[in-house]
Symmetry: C2
Subunit: 343 residues, 2 copies
DNA sequence: TACGGTTGCCGGAACGTTCCGGCACCCCTT
DNA sequence: AAGGGGTGCCGGAACGTTCCGGCAACCGTA
């Protein structure tokens, strides 16, 4: 005796994971009804739905992503790209896991694109639903290629190229830098110098612009030094030494590059200054080295984990159509005040 | 007039990426022949193969991964799992990118599994060809679940649970720790204390065992302190303070947890000791904080990037059958000698 | 000439899913 | 009783790939 539709449903092959046909047979319904019940999509009666869900649970059914993706052209996967020069920073790790966690919560897979990916022109774009680009530089060829795939793209920080990303999550670096400078002023500093990075990222440029403007607003001379992108501690210390020698009136040093403040600290001390006393020191990126330094160094906490999470969330929303393209979100950052600026 | 097989090949839909049928039509062959030519698999004459490759190149054809995966049950994707407590360390980032880069070179995708993944029991395993687990702890439920999927697993460092991973890439921590202790002895230290982590990872336990053995071999009393897993700088400093107070004969301190050496450094100084002088200091993990400390701190460089790369390579080899299951590889580590141990 | 073996190519089924269209049934209204 | 509309379910095609089996054509030998 055949149950309805049994002719269309082949026998299960033990060993392989169960398919929707197995679920259908177990619930004595058709593949279509099983599919509808599992996704809540068609017209299915309450009892039938229950039966299907129960069967699926009992069999440990999980839909085959490849088959689903083949049928729907939706991969449930997003790619995350990281420029090479960022891959050593503590910031990156937190960002990556922010993305991963949030994406997992939304049922999305995250695949990692390293700089080694897609090197040669003409390589096919990755087969994903969307992209997250961390701090994209217009001069990075991989970034340019990815921006041209036509896929939805969310960038962490603005993109300075001509293509516009589908979504942007940014921090208000202008506000946080201003807050930091105001704090230094409240702690007695009158002439805050900035050691910036030569990088052309939006972040780096914003810090310089804000510092320049603040100095102008407060009628203090602009003192700025630039460090090469991957500068070693020795190079950074040299820059600090020269800075103090050339600008003896400096009473605060703000360092932009990741970890630079910790690197220059010994040099400031060697110059006879007391950090946290007659010379304040702060960093534009917080990391463990800032917390463990002696004295501990005041730093802007960029909240990379939240940043990553918000990128993933925004991309999800764009993919599901809940949020229109062109959305820009601004995340708050925190100023962690420590001994190095408590004058 | 119909070219051979033209009836079986539907017209192309402009806008969608080209399929193998488009390539076949462009080269005036069947789907089968196109597929064979592209993968070098069947019996295809030289000119025909050339024609197919040329057509594919011209059309910008890239095989649809979902379709291929559905047909072959091979996803060309591996998953990378990271325990939560490791996600803030610099080590992790380098490791992740080592894996990503190497996997990309082998044509594999890497998807990230965060701790948030697969939380509840009964969740289906990720649909990938293999797994890389970084420093897996037997008490991590996610690790246990992943070890039970039946998928090939390569672990970075040994796994202390009962399941055996398919492959292991490890560092010779015993050798490197011994080398470090010998170096300290050569620099004049006679009583090296160890501040270890409470973690039960293979790495942590090996360090403790090696230290204990070295002390026994050299007839010096064993001085060991344990720090909680996520210990703050304050906690670590407290441990260092107590250590020096209780064991005044200590003339060298070795710190295992990531970054701990930089955290305790100020405390050692506060106790009236000269780091690099009458007290040597070293770390079992190198990171930027070690390089920027003053004095710079001697550290074992675990070469996380190579480690990640080697994990990916080994998994590739196991997946392709070139390397038998059960393979264990040992990677060299480096000792970066710096001012903190140049007595 | 006949014939076994090789070479080059092809048709079509299968992988597991989604979803369009259709069919039977029931209920309500006229 | 007839008709219209809604409900619950199903058959089967399609997504793009791989690969089994087969079929001509050709070559060499008997």
């Amino acid at each position: 005796m055949a149950t309805p539709g049994s002719a269309a449903v082949p026998a299960p092959r033990p060993g392989s994971p169960p398919t929707i046909a197995d679920v259908a047979r177990a619930a004595a319904v058709s593949k279509t009804t099983a599919s509808d019940a599992l996704r809540g999509h068609g017209r299915v009666s309450g009892p039938t739905r229950e039966a299907v869900l129960e069967a699926a649970r009992r069999l440990g059914y999980a839909p085959n992503r490849s088959a689903r993706s083949l049928r729907t052209s939706v991969t449930d996967t997003v790619a995350l790209y990281f420029p090479e020069f960022l891959t050593s920073a503590e910031y990156s790790m937190a960002f990556v896991f922010g993305v991963a966690e949030r994406a997992a919560g939304a049922g999305l897979n995250v695949t990692l694109l390293s700089s080694g990916h897609l090197p040669q022109h003409g390589t096919a774009p990755p087969q994903v639903d969307g992209l997250v680009l961390c701090d994209p530089a217009p001069e990075d060829p991989v970034v340019r290629r990815l921006m041209n795939t036509g896929l939805p793209v969310v960038t962490a920080e603005r993109y300075a190229g001509d293509q516009q990303p589908t979504g942007v999550v940014r921090s208000d670096h202008e506000a946080s830098m201003t807050e930091l400078l105001d704090h230094l002023r409240d702690s007695g500093a009158r002439r805050p110098a900035l050691i910036a990075s030569e990088a052309t990222s939006d972040w780096s440029l914003t810090l310089q612009r804000t510092h320049a403007r603040w100095c102008a607003d407060h009628g203090v001379p602009l003192v700025l030094r630039k460090a090469p992108v991957g500068a070693t501690p020795e190079v950074l210390r040299g820059i600090a030494r020269d800075l103090l020698a050339q600008e003896p009136g400096t009473d605060a040093v703000v360092c932009a590059p990741d970890g630079a403040a910790a690197a220059v600290l010994p040099e400031l001390r060697a110059a006879g200054r007391t950090v946290g006393g007659d010379l304040l020191l702060a960093s534009c990126v917080d990391c463990s080295a800032m917390r463990t330094a002696e004295p501990a160094i005041t730093a802007i906490d960029l909240r990379p984990r939240s940043m990553g999470a918000e990128c993933a969330r925004l991309l999800c929303e764009i993919l599901s159509g809940r949020t229109p393209p062109g959305t820009v979100r601004t995340l708050p950052v925190a100023l962690n005040i420590r001994a190095s600026t408590r004058a």
